[in-house]
């Protein structure tokens, strides 16, 4: 068996999300190759070659891959998939966009966001916002799989010495073009890989009040997240959203502030190691999953907590 893992990157650096798919691939077992498709992405390929357990890095360079357009990347994957028993990507926005397109072109039923590997053809995946776990077996000749990053540890970023092989690009599908992006800038750790996450919900009342969470996050070197309600209300951008259809996080410590605990929010954070909930409604469902609950007015409790941690 040989497994192809799609590298997530920005043409300059390998995104650490890729390392989780590498671990999932190792659990399946077999020769492990990483595909780096990009523009001037040689540095990413060199980085990928150092990842522990990787046998070979495939580097496909073309302007068509510079902005991760699904139509172009899926064409490339189809041209390579014949050599592999499994094609994996981490379930990032890019992985979710590209892999199903490639799967359909290969006439394969993709397996989305696996959280466990039972065997080479049998996998566990959450359904219904994580309220049930399905064990599914694929009969397709190539298994096309996205991997939930929080369910697999990161593979070591160094220690490997794979060869880098250039592969032919598959051209531009001519269907879509990239116009531009507005990336949220933050000095804080990334939400999906932070050790501590502080999240705010509707109880924050407005975007300005998120400064209270920023101050707490600064003390804890934490990322700041939000519930869907807070994002829909326009308090913070979509990049903050933790939940079933937002980001899935599993930090050491998750502090939920003014979040009631809707099912779809719990789906995004209930695998956190320690959960703290601060909410003035003592019946809020968030308390049912919290290790430590504090029934209090967040506008008093959060500044108090920030101060207490500094001591």
């Amino acid at each position: 068996m040989s497994i192809l893992v799609i590298a997530e990157h920005d043409n300059a650096k390998l995104n650490a999300a890729t390392l989780h798919a590498v671990t999932a691939a190792q659990k399946i077992g077999g020769d492990l190759h990483i595909l780096v498709a990009g523009t001037n992405a040689g540095a990413v390929a060199d980085e990928a070659a150092k990842v522990g357990g990787v046998a070979k890095v495939l580097l496909a360079e073309d302007a068509a891959y510079g902005n991760r357009l699904a139509e172009n990347l899926a064409k490339l994957l189809v041209s390579l998939a014949g050599n592999y028993s499994h094609v994996l990507a981490t379930a990032t926005a890019t992985g979710k966009n590209v892999l199903p397109r490639a799967a359909a072109l290969l006439d394969v039923q993709q397996i989305s966001e696996i959280t466990g590997v039972e065997s080479a053809d049998t996998f566990v995946r959450p359904i219904y916002a994580g309220n049930a776990l399905a064990t599914v077996q694929s009969s397709d000749k190539v298994k096309v799989i996205t991997v939930r990053a929080t369910a697999f540890d990161a593979a070591p970023a160094t220690g490997g010495s794979a060869s880098v092989e250039k592969v032919a690009a598959a051209g531009d599908a001519g269907l879509s073009t990239f116009v531009g992006q507005e990336l949220a800038k933050s000095e804080r750790p990334e939400l999906t890989s932070a050790r501590v996450v502080v999240s705010g919900g509707r109880g924050m009342q407005n975007g300005d009040n998120f400064k209270l969470l920023d101050a707490l996050a600064d003390k804890l070197n934490a990322a700041v997240g939000a519930s869907r309600a807070a994002v829909d209300a326009g308090f913070v951008p979509n990049t903050y959203q933790v939940g079933q259809t937002g980001k899935i996080v599993a930090p050491e410590l998750y502090i939920a502030v003014g979040i009631s605990g809707a099912i779809q929010h719990l789906a995004g954070m209930k695998d956190s190691k320690v959960i703290v909930a601060i909410n003035k409604d003592e019946d809020a469902p968030i308390f049912q999953v919290a290790d430590y609950g504090l029934v209090a007015d967040l506008f008093q409790a959060v500044p108090e907590l920030t101060n207490a941690i500094s001591k």
């Binding site: 890019t94 590209v98 064990t135 829909d232 410590l253």
Partner: protein
């Protein structure tokens, strides 16, 4: 220009699902069913295109058992013009859904197909991308803004991990909705009444020439490990003490 919008009947998002005792699935008998919330956003976007004079007709499509017609009626009450129901009792997986939708698209020739980015039951997030692949057309997934240009293209703003990105796609194309695309309307009572008179065509997978047999076999469905119930602390000081000395996370 026709717009096709796909609507899925799912367990209502407010229902706490229960795993069946025999481990074959989740309990769906006597459970409230609704339109997948992302598909409501899709219907709203399609109806807005019609109201803006950009679309001439909005066709709502649902696939599955006979009760899917209720979901189509909901779309018709929100403003879709007519429905297509592909009736089958077989469990439909995303690839089969995409193939059936392609069959309907081949007949109807819409310029835009709108789907929810994911269904809240199987959480697969595949069907729109698969439909675009099978049609050989562009895909604009996780959309938070759609602007149609005059030259046969559209600009779509997409919600991605790091923020927002904008792409230009050629028509015809497939759009999948994210939460911030719009706020779906509630159907008014007069519109619910009017929707009862709107036509729904019924097709079968055989008529569309699609093999819908599931590719993935579900071996079992289980409940995830439950979190241990925690404790309530009385003060911020007690919380900090617990986090430092008991959980040792700060």
């Amino acid at each position: 220009m026709k717009v096709l919008v796909a609507v899925k009947r799912v367990v209502d998002y407010n229902v706490k699902v229960r795993v069946k005792a025999d481990g074959t699935g989740v309990e769906t008998a006597n459970v409230k069913m609704s339109m997948n919330p992302f598909d409501e956003i899709g219907v709203e976007e399609a109806v807005r295109l019609k109201e803006a004079g950009k679309a001439t007709e909005v066709i709502a499509v649902s696939l599955g058992p006979v009760q899917c017609q209720e979901t189509i009626r909901t779309a018709l009450a929100m403003g879709a013009d007519r429905g297509v129901h592909v009736q089958t009792d077989v469990e439909l997986q995303p690839l089969a859904v995409a193939k059936l939708l392609k069959g309907v698209v081949d007949k109807e020739q819409p310029q835009i197909c709108i789907l929810g980015k994911q269904a809240i039951d199987d959480d697969a997030n595949q069907t729109g991308q698969m439909l675009a692949a099978l049609l050989g057309s562009a895909q604009a997934t996780f959309a938070s803004k759609l602007v149609l240009n005059d030259n046969g293209t559209a600009n779509v703003t997409r919600e991605v991990d790091g923020g927002l990105e904008t792409i230009t796609v050629k028509l015809p194309f497939v759009l999948t909705t994210d939460l911030r695309l719009n706020e779906p309307r509630y159907a008014s009572l007069p519109n619910i009444m009017k929707a009862k008179k709107k036509p729904i065509d019924t097709l079968t997978p055989e008529q569309l020439g699609v093999d819908v047999a599931p590719r993935l076999k579900t071996l079992k469905v289980t409940e995830p490990a439950k979190r241990q119930a925690g404790i309530k602390v009385k003060s911020v000081d007690e919380l900090v003490d617990k986090l430092r000395n008991e959980a040792k996370v700060i």
